[in-house]
């Protein structure tokens, strides 16, 4: 019998596999397909204070082994999330992590405060990849000071599990990681999508209405893995790996390179049962190598 259980910053997970934000809806659609026993945590679709309607279509463009999206942070807003979505999520024995996003540091703080007033939320994941409206629209997550500001704002009202999701669209991700660590984050998740673009050569139009979108899927996995490795070496808090994980072997690469857990994202769109299959693949890997505990692999990279 092998153990897939992990503990990150005090949060116990049945498996090291979290469902990444935006690829699992609000849980209801896919939870039953995956099975609660295979799911470490659900990170729900990014929530803002007010509902957002998202970007005009086309919102998706497929690239080789990749997916470009410009959904535009469409979400039901925090009030409807609490009223309509959270009751379903609470019924299952899976930790619920809420991904939050905002235009200003105060919005992040207000969201965290509102979510702190209800039961059934195991933690927050802060999406700092959003445009910083008060600073000309540049992403919070691309500047160490702005990243720290948002983290501190949330930390000031949220004593529980706090994970900050880093964007890869920076020169040195470890600089941001250290700033967020110093600002009080319990752990880091990385990477968010890589900014990208595609053109239709028949119409000469961008394939996304928004022109630029975020690339996800297997195409970005080596980039994500490299950044997880760099970040793991640069900080003391746990790192959660995200980016193109579609198989147990992919997940293992991240764990060996330093991730304490991983998130599965685009793979959930490709196959709703992806996390179930990856969990089984991890069990098989451990059993076939007589490794009793998945934690034995974390950071076990041999140089």
């Amino acid at each position: 019998m092998v153990s897939l259980g992990v503990k990150i910053a005090g949060l116990s997970l049945k498996t090291p596999l979290m469902a990444a934000s935006g690829t699992f809806g609000y849980g209801g659609e896919l939870l039953l397909a995956v099975g609660a026993e295979n799911l470490g945590a659900i990170i729900v679709k990014g929530i803002s204070l007010l509902p957002r309607e998202g970007n005009p279509p086309p919102r998706l463009a497929e690239t080789p082994c990749g997916l470009l999206n410009s959904i535009g942070l469409e979400n039901v807003g925090v009030d409807r999330f609490i009223e309509e979505k959270l009751p379903f999520l609470r019924k299952h024995d899976v930790p619920v992590i809420v991904n939050i996003l905002g235009d200003t540091a105060n919005e992040y703080r207000d969201l965290a405060e509102r979510l702190g007033s209800v039961d059934g939320i195991a933690g927050l994941e802060v999406n700092i990849g959003c445009p910083n409206v008060e600073a000309g629209g540049m992403s919070f997550g691309t500047a160490p000071a702005a990243s720290a500001l948002v983290t501190e704002a949330v930390r000031s009202v949220w004593p529980g599990f706090l994970m900050v999701k880093l964007t890869p669209n920076v020169t040195d991700i470890t600089e941001i990681a250290r700033a967020v660590e110093a600002a009080g984050a319990d752990c880091l998740s990385l990477i968010n999508t890589v900014r990208g673009m595609a053109v239709n050569v028949d119409t000469r139009k961008p394939r996304l209405k928004n022109v630029i979108g975020g690339l996800s899927g297997p195409a970005i996995k080596p980039i994500a893995l490299r950044m997880v490795y760099e970040t793991w070496r640069a900080v003391k808090i746990p790192v959660v790996g995200v980016g193109g994980i579609t198989s147990a072997l992919d997940a293992l690469e991240f764990l060996i390179a330093g991730a304490s857990a991983v998130q599965v994202g685009t793979a959930n769109l490709v196959r709703p049962t992806a996390i179930r299959e990856i969990a089984q693949g991890l069990r098989d890997y451990l059993a076939s190598r007589d490794i009793p505990d998945i934690n034995d692999l974390v950071g076990s990279l041999i140089l």
């Binding site: 690829t23 039953l32 279509p57 919102r59 998706l60 959904i71 490709v270």
Partner: protein
């Protein structure tokens, strides 16, 4: 929850009916839940991650185990699909989405080209209910009037229109729509085809005060409502999501 998992299906037939237009029949085994007319399936190669996303297709005809689609080769995904031979396996998930309302009313089906895909299953269902629909089917040429023989068996009347006049009336379906509605006392119109056809049809149908439901197409990520990729602008504000709200929508709900 089998509709939330891919199953393997064996290709029974994958025939090119007209240039670039294919008819695929698969044996879905016992793993596929019964479908309703207008619902769709997500189809992908059995293995591999390129193409990464599955492709959505309206269900053309369905019986337990046997599922059929019509498709046009437009890119790499459909190009790979066209190369599948009988005996080979693909992955599919479905039935998904909301289909057509099949209550007994006087129904007119308006199809443009490969947009005829969802109407065989619908026409047969209506026919079996003793409510054979009327069909107005347009295409560029007579070759592109795919599956018209099979379809017309279930229809009270079939009017075909080709742009080159090679079969039936010459011109566009929309030129014959007015007459088809008036003559048959139509209470509801279902449409599927190119957006310009739908848009022109909507103006005519609205002027008769008849409800118009359309089966639409959009790039889909997941097919099950989680990625929010398949957004269609609402007439008032915000977006519908084709995989959950559709693929059949009330044409008046959509911003055209």
């Amino acid at each position: 929850m089998s509709a939330r998992a891919y199953i393997n299906a064996e290709v029974v037939k994958n025939l090119e009916l007209a240039e670039g237009a294919y008819h695929l029949v698969v044996d879905a085994g016992s793993g596929m839940e019964p479908a309703r007319p207008g619902q769709f399936v997500m189809v992908r190669p059995k293995e591999g991650l390129d193409p990464l996303l599955s492709r959505p297709f309206s269900i053309h005809e369905f019986e337990p185990r046997r599922m059929e689609i019509l498709y046009r080769v437009v890119g790499r995904g459909t190009g790979l699909l066209a190369r599948l031979a009988p005996g080979q396996t693909l992955s599919l998930m479905g039935p998904l989405g909301r289909g057509f309302d099949t209550t007994n009313e006087k129904v007119l089906l308006v199809a443009g080209g490969i947009g005829v895909a969802p109407f065989l299953f619908l026409a047969r269902r209506l026919y079996e209910q003793g409510n054979s629909p009327h069909l107005l089917f347009g295409a560029k040429t007579k070759e592109e009037l795919v599956r018209v023989e099979e379809l017309s068996e279930f229809c009270a009347e079939t009017v075909v229109v080709t742009e080159d006049g090679s079969r039936g009336e010459k011109g566009l379906v929309t030129e014959y729509l007015e007459a088809a509605i008036a003559k048959n006392g139509v209470q509801k119109v279902y449409g599927c085809g190119p957006v310009p056809m739908i848009r022109a049809a909507l103006r005519i149908i609205e002027s008769h005060g008849v409800p118009f439901f359309v089966s639409l197409e959009e790039v889909m990520g997941c097919g099950v409502g989680v990625c929010l990729g398949c957004a269609v602008p609402r007439a008032d504000e915000g977006y519908l999501h084709l995989c959950k709200d559709g693929p059949v929508l009330d044409a008046r709900e959509v911003k055209w």
